[in-house]
């Protein structure tokens, strides 16, 4: 156990790979979303509501949110590992970030399936 800290990376390929896979999922969703928004001339409330009422849109958006959650976690953790050196403070911040991300995912589900 030399030099291993609880607030460090998990020493594996998993997060590195997850960062790239989630990025690709979000990129595909983004391109589709932009095309949908541009092809709709005037977005009224009913257009907006009906778009998010469709099953595929809800699932795709949830997939986007889940990807974003994992992607943001890896990214923010990288930033904290680079700039926040005291292990206790870093751990506290990491826990806060994780809880925040979990809350955001819960909120997103609530928004999509209200």
């Amino acid at each position: 156990m030399t030099g291993r800290t609880v607030t460090g990376a998990r020493y594996g390929l998993r997060d590195w790979l997850a960062q790239r896979i989630t990025a690709t999922i979000m990129a595909v969703y983004s391109v589709i979303a932009v095309v949908v928004f541009i092809s709709n001339k005037n977005i009224t409330y009913s257009v907006w509501r009906d778009l998010f009422a469709q099953g595929w849109m809800r699932v795709a958006t949830l997939l986007f949110a889940a990807s974003l959650a994992w992607h943001a976690w890896v990214g923010v953790r990288d930033i904290l590992m680079d700039y926040v050196k005291p292990a206790g403070l870093r751990l506290a911040l990491e826990v806060m970030v994780l809880l925040t991300i979990a809350a955001y995912v819960g909120w997103t589900i609530q928004i999509l399936w209200r």
Binding site: R20, A23, T24, A27, S30, V34, F37, I38, Y45, W48, R49, F52, A72, G75, V76, I79, Y104, W107, T108, I111, R114
Partner: protein, 137 residues
């Protein structure tokens, strides 16, 4: 290297410590470095803005009145400006991210192509921001 160049290099004081002055005025960040730090800054900005964006999505889908309010709110110039900055952050993060995926595949890792792709990322993200800003408003 010419003899004069060797002399200039030798006269530089070493070691060089990183401090704010050095970072701001003495060390020139190469172009791919700018893309890199902007990738990090834009990512952090997007994460911090998530709560705001989620709130707007929430209100806009909640009711017709909520949608109208958000539409009006998004038209106010400080909100518009902030959203435009976030659109840029998204576009930059997107373009730079694609560049990194290519670098991961060992494509464009030589200096010339790395510089060229950095220019492309910076220009493309600005162009996309202008285009999306124009389309959205």
């Amino acid at each position: 290297m010419s003899e004069a160049a060797v002399k200039t290099t030798a006269r530089k004081s070493r070691p060089k410590y990183l401090n704010l002055q050095a970072l701001l005025f003495e060390i020139r960040l190469p172009l791919p470095g700018w893309v890199s730090i902007l990738h990090r800054i834009s990512g952090a900005m997007l994460f911090l803005a998530l709560v705001w964006l989620l709130w707007m999505l929430d209100r806009s889908l909640a009711s017709e009145a909520g949608f109208g309010k958000i539409k009006h709110y998004a038209g106010l110039w400080p909100v518009k400006l902030s959203l435009l900055v976030l659109v840029w952050a998204y576009c930059h993060h997107f373009c730079a991210g694609i560049r990194y995926l290519f670098l991961d595949l060992d494509k464009g890792v030589d200096l010339e192509n790395a510089r060229l792709s950095s220019w492309i990322v910076l220009a493309a993200s600005l162009a996309l921001t202008v285009f999306l800003g124009w389309k959205l408003w």
